[in-house]
């Protein structure tokens, strides 16, 4: 019985929200959590468009969407014989589903949609992914982040927890407020820099590779093998390590694995100042 109940609530939420879409030009909707204040999961996936996720002082997830009209556009709201459109097909832009503190947000195909989500600051796990024409920006959240993009950048600012992020064309820039000391992390891109700022006390086993670029850090990285050749000093007092293969090293005695890889960019590992 319980599952049926949850399902029906879900359906009602969905009905309500689609109604909201249809009526409201601003396109905002609020998705309440089944157990507010408890850890939650958020999965947002787009094919075309940007995603911004911001932590705020609230208990529900607020989704704002702006979609760029399809190529043809809806020039006319009138149908045959003076009828007018009430349920336009452009209300299917975004669908959001909440089930047991798990929220799934998805966009429809063939239409660029930009999403801004405000999310509670308590612990959560986030999967945020898009493909084309958009950047991903995340700030002030707490928990586990899995972020992927293809043609666009990833910027993550002031977060606590762990991050696994990858894109193909664009930089990956991450600044941590604090980190989960047990979690493994990874950052990768093909065309772009990787720039990660950690708090001072971080411990990690790092695994780094910048094929065509350099690796810069102001942490003391003790490398295990493949002694890197120190080539030159950077103006800001960072030094560069350059080797052909992966650089394996330890920060502060070692810890969970942190992998960073870029093919055509450089890697920056910064200590928070």
């Amino acid at each position: 019985m319980k599952t049926i109940k949850i399902a029906s609530v879900c359906v009602i939420v969905m009905l309500l929200t689609t109604r909201l879409w249809a009526q409201n030009n601003e396109k905002q909707m609020t998705v309440p959590l089944s157990s507010p204040g408890k850890p939650y999961k958020l999965d947002v996936g787009l094919v075309d468009g940007s995603i911004t996720v911001i932590g705020y002082e609230g208990k529900a997830v607020i989704i704002e969407a702006q979609s760029e009209e399809g190529k043809k556009g809806h020039d006319d709201d009138r149908g045959p014989g003076g009828m007018h459109r009430i349920g336009a097909n452009n209300n299917a832009d975004i669908n959001a589903e909440e089930n047991n503190n798990e929220i799934n947000v998805g966009g429809s195909l063939g239409r660029k949609t930009n999403l801004v989500l405000k999310v509670p600051q308590n612990e959560g796990s986030f999967k945020i992914h898009t493909v084309n024409n958009g950047n991903i920006v995340i700030s002030n959240v707490n928990g586990e982040l899995e972020v992927s993009n293809v043609n666009g950048s990833i910027k993550i600012n002031n977060v606590s927890g762990s991050v696994v992020a990858n894109t193909v064309n664009g930089p990956v820039v991450v600044t941590f407020k604090s980190i989960d000391p047990k979690a493994a992390m990874a950052f990768s891109t093909l065309n772009g820099n990787i720039d990660v700022t950690f708090p001072a006390g971080v411990k990690a086993n790092v695994k780094l590779k910048a094929d065509r670029g350099d690796i810069f850090t102001d942490f003391d990285v003790v490398t295990d093998q493949h002694k890197p050749i120190v080539t030159h000093n950077d103006s800001k007092g960072m030094y560069s390590l350059k080797v052909e293969d992966w650089v394996y090293g330890k920060i502060d005695g070692g810890g969970p694995e942190m992998m960073m890889k870029t093919t055509f960019g450089s890697i920056y590992i910064r200590k928070v100042k």
């Binding site: 599952t3 049926i4 399902a7 879900c10 999965d43 947002v44 996936g45 589903e97 089930n99 047991n100 798990e102 799934n104 947000v105 998805g106 195909l109 063939g110 999967k127 992914h129």
Partner: protein, 183 residues
């Protein structure tokens, strides 16, 4: 309960309600079998693969995010199973398989019709067997699975334009093989 979407059901499976996989099996095993059958032309092998696909969906259920369609996910797993199988033992299509398969399908009413249909089928099976995997795959998805080009693009992870071009080439090739064989 049957009105639940595929995604909703799969998300429940992911949550641990493994029995719900039975519903998805009922909904899709025929379609999946059809796809695998055209990719292998081997009944037992296809049945085995259906099993493997459902097993993988159970085992890797945590990787289902619900942001895409369930069937796209199912096809991508099925394609991986095919690839694995192809690697393990190069699946050779046996000679004579075409006639045998053509015999197994319901025929026409009169003996002449039956013979005619059987010939057409045998010829087509032979031609289909000669197609490259890529081409057979795209024709199977669009003709037998009746999927839209846009959906096929998602499943194959290529652009819709590429699907259209490939579908056209595949059909042209099939036509050429079929016609040349008749002569």
């Amino acid at each position: 309960m049957n009105s639940l979407t595929d995604n909703a059901i799969m998300l429940r499976v992911k949550d641990g309600d493994l029995d719900k996989m039975g519903l998805l099996f009922e909904r899709y095993h025929r379609q999946l079998y059809g796809f695998l059958f055209h990719m292998t032309y081997h009944r037992e092998v296809s049945e085995d693969m259906v099993q493997q696909v459902f097993y993988k969906m159970l085992r890797y259920r945590q990787t289902f995010t619900g942001s895409g369609q369930f069937i796209h996910w199912m096809y991508s797993i099925a394609r991986n199973v095919l690839k694995d199988q192809g690697k393990r033992k190069q699946l050779q299509m046996q000679a004579g398989n075409a006639e045998q398969l053509a015999d197994q399908l319901p025929g026409g009413i009169t003996p002449e019709e039956q013979l005619e249909k059987k010939e057409a089928r045998t010829g087509l099976y032979r031609a289909m067997e000669k197609l490259s995997d890529d081409h057979r795959e795209i024709l199977t998805l669009s003709r037998f699975q009746e999927l839209k080009h846009q959906e096929i693009a998602q499943i194959l992870n290529i652009s819709e334009v590429a699907v259209k071009t490939r579908a056209h080439r595949a059909l042209r090739e099939l036509k050429n093989i079929y016609i040349n064989a008749e002569r």
